[in-house]
């Protein structure tokens, strides 16, 4: 018996959604609950021992569109260079997710 068209469409839709969700996921050592719309900042560097509170910071970002194409330099090196830092004391990250259509991950390093 032939499969009804709507079932094929539903299956295709579910598979596409699952693939998109699986492709575009942030992984971090410390992650607050993440929603389909998310804007938050959280710690990235969790190794603190008498860490000085820094006065300067630098940022670098990576982007992802539709869970299909991802690009950008969000490395600690790029963030430190952007902030003209000589020493890195700690690091956080910013995460922005708009319905999985656009995601931006920003690494923020603090230092002197």
């Amino acid at each position: 018996m032939a499969t009804p068209p709507f079932r094929k469409l539903a299956t295709l839709g579910a598979a596409t959604t699952a693939a998109l969700l699986a492709a575009g996921c942030l992984v971090a050592p410390f992650q607050p609950p993440t929603g389909i719309v998310s804007v938050y900042r959280a710690p990235l560097d969790l190794d603190m021992a008498q860490t000085p509170v820094a006065t300067k910071e630098g940022q670098a970002s990576a982007h992802c569109v539709l869970g299909l194409v991802a690009w950008g330099d969000a490395s600690a090196h790029a963030a430190a260079a952007n902030g003209h830092l000589k020493t890195i004391h700690s690091a956080d990250y910013d995460y922005l997710n708009i319905l999985g259509l656009y995601q931006k991950t920003t690494v923020i390093v603090q230092g002197e």
Partner: protein
Amino acid sequence: MARPWQPRRLTPLLGGLLLAGLSGCATYRAPFQPPQGLLVSAVKAPLQLDSHAGVPAAPGGHGQASTFYFHDPLITGLSFAWDDCALARASRNGGLQRLDYADYEYLMVLGIFGRMTVHAYGPVAAAAPR
């Protein structure tokens, strides 16, 4: 009426599992991963950053080492991964005296070609006197 169970039905499932096993795993693991793209990913992110005492942001030296991934989806369905992106190799390539921190760079195109590069940063070892 329910059709009788036939072992033949398991063939596609077993075939798929076998193929999945042989094709390796194109995804990667890292402590911090920005979202990846299904078609193309070209991102750079921190690999290791233990900066409690403060690490030099521009230590002067940089070394890198890469591994490569190739998946043949048309003929064999097999995947291959090779080379060395260890920190030891990266720091040796850059002639580093000490490792201060490391980033990584992930490139994957259509799940067919991939490259993972580890970037190591630290002061460069002084050249040995001749």
